[in-house]
Subunit: 656 residues, 3 copies
């Protein structure tokens, strides 16, 4: 039906494709591993970096990386700068292209973990371009490029350097770039120095899932590097399984021995290291070699972790130990454990020299190039996020990945800043933040309740201390206080004020005849009538018993005062209708003016005493009238001593 009927492909192509899928799934593995090993606040950033680097490296590798790596060699150093027009390739070659594309993605993504939690996203894009677009293809060219004849044309490959599946090409390259980046970036805040501490991953089960996804991926990574389903493949897969297992177990053993428990990070690092180290020689060693390579890799990686801690080099997920150190070890291990017939250099020692040359060449190319690039970039345009962004976390700082938790914290912060805790915080049900919000609201309620009770208790105490319980008028204490302030104020501004001392006439008789309740009711009505006679700015107080007082803050003329006094007297003298019958009383008023231009500055007691004396005069004058006190009046002679003495001394004359 189609123009060119598709032709069947070989099992080898199928194998390469399947291996490619497994390598592709290592991206999922790295995502789980890395986002599981960082803190929540950076987990999304790490995951999205993994996704983006795969996108970028795929495009770059297609645009020029593939030809740079596998194009016609320029003196064994570099391929061609040309796109991989796979449309025009043979299907077998396209499959090869796909396999290499996935490898390139792996090399790129190794770095994302090391630099996690402080690298700017744009910086990571730049690193990906450098690693996937330049360094990886060039190094790959040196080691893996071959002429159509099968002859290796890269200078290292031609020399006999053995790196079957990329311990050096992929892993150590990723490791070198990681190392350069973390040296430029510096350690995460809080990692070293005073109070510095190991930073725990947010989701270790997810990290373990990542390890398994990587492990299965490595079966394709190594098993597909034959580029054919040949007799080496089962051996390779078996070696991969054993080396990973051995790496994990040595990690377990060392951590148990050193720390007394099975450390998750040691087991994970050990396993990854075993898988990385076996890449180089997985086709040329047997079960013993695989196990030893795994053991060595795990031990070296864990040692490197400690060394880097001592050197205060901060690798967020251990990419340098697991990929660089284990990659170097695995590359050397080829010379140590390969069946002799596979050694390209003749003897083990010769092969070791070749391996060392290769390792060194790659390191001396990848590390300085990365370091200098990052250093230069960093000088003009910092690759590291601000300390504030690092504190907030890159999820929010770089991706605005706000969450219900953030909403909640924002609301709580606002309440704390404004001190307004009157409203519940509002978070949707069963979000991450909901339980915390529920709790917060419960606490708020309790707080309001508690604060309210305290407030009420204090107000009650204050009120008890300042109010006459019967009439609700201010009491003697408040009256004195306010008269004092009024005097001071008048003295300052030269205005005049006045106090009136009022004593009811005939109250005792009412009280005795009609009963205490009638007396109380009468006093309440008197209070209301007095209030009705004065301005809002004036103060009516009950001094005790049947004595009331009035404070007038500002007095214009004496006439006005007299007018008020007469109004008071008139008002009070009208009959009171009580439950117990009609009651008629009067009131005697004593007036004392204060302030103004008077030379003598009186204190509150003097002023009130003058009004008291004036009231007494009014009383003596026949009640139901008023008198104005003359200032500087001598104290009433009859005034008895009025020491407050403690209750204990009452009536000493009666004490036997």
């Amino acid at each position: 039906m189609l123009p060119d009927a598709p032709v069947a492909l070989s099992l080898d192509v199928a194998w390469v494709l399947i291996a490619s899928f497994l390598v592709a799934s290592m991206q999922a593995g790295f995502t789980c591993l890395e986002s599981g090993l960082v803190r929540s606040k950076n987990s999304i950033n790490v995951a999205i970096k993994n996704l983006v680097d795969f996108c970028i490296s795929s495009i770059l590798f297609t645009l020029f990386g593939f030809q740079l790596m596998f194009g016609p060699s320029l003196d064994g150093l570099i391929g061609a700068f040309a796109p991989a027009s796979y449309e025009s390739m043979s299907p077998d070659r396209v499959a090869f292209f796909i396999f290499q594309l996935m490898f390139c993605g792996t090399a790129a993504t190794i770095i994302s973990g090391a630099v996690a939690e402080r690298l700017r996203f744009i910086g990571y894009v730049m690193i990906t371009v450098l690693s996937a677009g330049v360094i990886y293809p060039v190094v790959g060219h040196w080691i893996w490029n071959s002429a159509p004849s099968g002859e290796l044309t890269g200078w290292l490959g031609a020399m006999g350097f053995l790196d079957f599946a990329g311990s050096t090409v992929v892993h150590s390259v990723g490791g070198w770039i990681s190392l350069a980046a973390i040296l430029i970036l510096g350690p995460r805040i809080g990692r070293f120095g005073l109070g510095g501490h190991h930073i725990e991953g947010q989701n270790l089960p997810m990290a373990v899932l990542g390890v398994f996804l990587l492990w299965v991926g490595f079966f394709g990574f190594n098993g597909g590097s034959t580029l054919a389903l040949n007799s080496l493949v089962p051996l390779i897969v078996a070696n991969t399984a054993l080396s990973g297992a051995a790496g994990g177990l040595i990690g377990l053993a060392i951590s148990w021995y050193k720390r007394g428990h099975a450390s998750v990070d040691a087991i994970i690092n050990g396993t990854i290291s075993g898988l990385v180290a076996i890449c180089a020689g997985c086709n040329v060693v047997g079960e013993i070699g695989a196990i030893l390579i795994g053991l060595g890799a795990g031990a070296l990686a864990i040692g490197s972790v400690h060394l880097m801690e001592k050197l205060q080099i901060d690798d967020a997920i251990g990419a340098v130990p697991s990929h660089l150190v284990a990659g170097v070890w695995g590359t050397m291990a080829v010379a140590l454990f390969a069946s002799p017939e596979y050694l390209m250099g003749g003897s083990r020692l010769d092969q070791m020299q070749i391996q060392l040359v290769g390792i060194a060449a790659v390191g001396l190319f990848a590390f300085p190039l990365s370091y200098i690039t990052f250093y230069a970039v960093n000088r003009f345009w910092p690759m590291r996020v601000s300390a504030e962004d690092e504190r907030i976390g890159l999820n929010i700082a770089e991706h605005a990945a706000t969450t219900s938790i953030l909403d909640l914290v924002t609301q709580m912060d606002w309440q704390a800043r404004t001190g307004d805790f009157s409203k519940h915080v509002d978070v949707e049900n069963e979000t991450e933040a909901h339980q915390i919000a529920t709790f917060y609201n419960v606490v708020l309620d309790k707080f309001q309740l508690e604060t309210g009770r305290r407030q009420e208790a204090l107000e009650r105490l204050t009120e008890l201390a300042s109010t006459d319980v019967l009439t609700g008028l201010p009491n003697r204490r408040v009256y004195f206080d306010l008269v004092r302030r009024s005097i001071a104020s008048c003295n300052r501004n030269g205005r005049q004020g006045a106090v009136m001392y009022m004593d009811l006439d005939g109250f005792k008789k009412i009280n005795d005849d009609m009963g205490h309740d009638a007396g109380d009711a009468l006093l309440k009505q008197v209070a209301l009538r007095l209030l009705s006679c004065v301005r809002e700015s004036d103060l009516v107080a009950r001094l005790g018993g049947d004595e009331f007082a009035l404070l007038i803050g500002e007095v214009e003329t004496l006439d006005a005062l007299e007018h008020v006094a007469e109004k008071l007297i008139e008002t009070v003298s009208e009959p009171f209708i009580l439950k117990q019958g009609e009651a008629n009383i009067g009131v005697s008023v004593g007036i004392a003016v204060f302030g103004g231009s008077r030379s003598a500055r009186e204190d509150v007691e003097t002023v009130i005493k003058r009004s008291d004396n004036a009231m007494y005069d009014a009383k003596l004058s026949g009640k139901g009238t008023w008198r104005v006190s003359e200032p500087e009046l001598a104290p009433r002679p009859a005034e008895p001593s009025t020491d407050i003495k403690l209750d204990l001394t009452v009536s000493p004359s009666l004490a036997s």
Copy 2:
């Protein structure tokens, strides 16, 4: 050994099976993607829907879907209604069946994300039955069914409609059904309108894991659609890789340009869209086409997201943009980017028309059928959960997936409702809720402490104000207050009460002779003796110094009162044994009766003064006896003025 020795199968069958496994793993991808992009409260619901729809679609596709899709065609419209008895199929056909079974599962599961967070579980089961049992097989028949000869027999396929791997058959069908469902369901609470906002996913790293699982799955989805390992496969896989990468990068670029940061959802949507769009033409385009298709898909999907937001159509995970829009685009893109020799319609324009017909036909079948079905069902039996259930979340509402968090919140709510915060909440260690419970308990403890202190302080203040410190008896203030209440009460109910005023005889001498400590000790003993003489309902108070008082709330006869008085006198007159020696004192008691039928209603001061006077009479009568006051007694003449004056005015006569 077995009856029919199994025969070897071809590489093509192996390829189809392997591709099936990859497609099956897309279920895992969708589970991660969708449960990661919804809120915690619905994450379990979404995941379990993914699992259940795979179970249901597998059974339905076996029971009749497969034959409906791939059975003998009825005029190119529909296949046969018959089960897929794979037991009797050739192994190749069984492999084909498996591959198609997985496709059907994918079409079904697309919908679960769009309708997430508000669809009833039973409603989802119904949707799955409709989509996997009816719509998908019918559309699939139109486009993909072929006679054994290889000739396409579905009407669209026969017309030359090109949809190699399902941009239309799988993705747009899923998208159309999703669209119908979300129009019927309406947006989630809080998504639009006042305060409406984007709803963040609960676990974006898991969503990214889902993207990678899907990506690898798409290699099988597209690569397996050849149904053979032929020369198209590598091209298809490479195109799939590039289109996904291009989609992801355009998502990154647009979000960066528009929002200033790399948006996780834009990158994810872009990638998925690129993978969806390439399905239709992955076998007929090259690298340029793949990249352009990916770029177009990503851009259109992100545009659609914004459009749907404007239209207030709420698609919880972007299924419509990523599957419907990108699917339509990918189907059209075949006409735009395919190598000309693959165009079935002759020219690009002709092919475009065919593609449009196909797209329209599928849309006009899938959307109205779904919409009408859902509308009808929804009228009689609401497909949406209640607002309350939506608020609570479908994990709990639909699956009773209660958690330690819920337990905790329940306990906290109970405390808040009852106001009983006396107990710690109890949650198991290191559960999700444990840290919150720990904190809550700490706060509770502080609260109890703080409340206790406040209570203590207030009680202390109150006690200071009401208790005689030496004897612990109520003081004068309390006594007056209670006598006042008692008088009021008696006045109301016509009963009688009495007060007794007691002054010790000879106390001063003891105090002077034996010292103050002896005096204090004596007063304490007196207090205890007085208490021993009265009923619990009577009140003994210390008025100050050596004066005590008794309030008897209810008096039957005067005799009883006299009896009490004599008992008091007798009791006090017994010798007191002090540390400093034996002491002998007496007590003079004055009694005043109040209340009852007495015409004059006295106030508290009058009553107490009467008792005081009576006591004075008793004192004058030779001490150690009692007297009863006559009511209406005139005040004692010798009573001095007892104004409380402020301290400042003391002894004016002494002031020089």
Copy 3:
């Protein structure tokens, strides 16, 4: 290039390898399933157990397990104890080895879920060694070992026992060992008994992801068991898909019927059970058989869950129902549903007997051996963690996997224990604990604020009650209180103290002439001068108006007292420079000594009255001098009665 050019392998080998990868990915599935179904506090422990058991079983299976299982048979009972030197095997055999290695890992990891949340890590290592190193290889030998000729040499295999892919060999073996282990370990704390409850998983979406990973893995598990890509494979895969789906749906149906909702655990258990049960007969049944096997498996598993609950056997993730019960059912189901031609025993009944013998033999080997081993080990060395560790969780207890949450809880506990809440807790931003810490700090702030306000209010009340507002000196109340204490103290220790009563001479005139402000200013200066004359241990108080007092706690001689008095008089008589001009006043001092050997022990009122009287004498003597009171002085005759009476009774003589 290489010495022995690798030779191409068959598709069958490729198939076995691919199947191996799928089985390997079941490790990822178990990790997700098991860590998702346990509580957070144990999730890491479970995940790391899955990783470690895969490492251990890989090594053990290589070292001796493979030969034990597939080596030359010793009477059909056991193979050879020898390492699997795969280096020397044929490539096909290595692929077979790899496939079996992955199977062994699966058998081992089944157990980790059942025993989760209470088994010590070292105990799990021991269980893994027993299961992967001994029981699984031996049982595998019985059933699966075959001579190179293909003849089955294991005694059960030879007998005609049918277990194609391991319902018995893998799953029931894992189930039996699990059962033995959980019987020895006992249920988790809080699972049964009073308040016992179902323990919810921490991450059910992850568990569902695990189900899908397992499902895809089972395609390889069953599909690869042909060890060739032959005509059985598609049937096997289709059966696997259908049985899993049927199991999931019956789980859904039963839970919906029984509990009214779709239970996540029932659906998951049903699916796994369906996948487990189909293993034994996946090659010999058709679609009907597959569905019935799945339905039966799901139903039996869910029934078993309830039965185990009744028996209070605690299987943390349902390994016994899903693997043992479903495995036994699947093994029996071969006899029920297999096409007759596959029955090795002739009739279904005969086959059933053979199946029963096999099931029983495996059970009678695996269960008692495990049980006795665990029992013996457990007696000497408990396999279960301490209750405290179980409460804390195995993440922390076994792996020191401390988290920011733990840090926070530790800080909060410390604050609660010490009662020192003055500092914020310190947790890094956007860690898991950050939101809680934020909240805690907000609450702390509110608490400090609230506590501060309360404190302030109380202090203000106390101060108001004890301080003279004008001069800041202690007031009359405090003075009396301290004099009382001083008297008591002197009476106890025989020392002498003294009080001085000071009344200013001429103050009223200053106050009247120069104004109240001048008077106030004068009083303040007097207070300062008085303070300058006394020792720090002495107390100066203002009693009110122009009266001050001094308390001298310890007096050596009367001369010293006189010296102080003269100094006071001299100091006060110096001119005061006021804003309003110069003022000259004097002071009259009355001294009263108390305590010492005096026979009469005076109370505070008496002492102060004596000093008052002495001051009065000084006043009368011409002011500006001092007098010492004689003890036992009679009260001043002129002393008026000083009852504190309530305000209401003021000036009765004036009341009309």
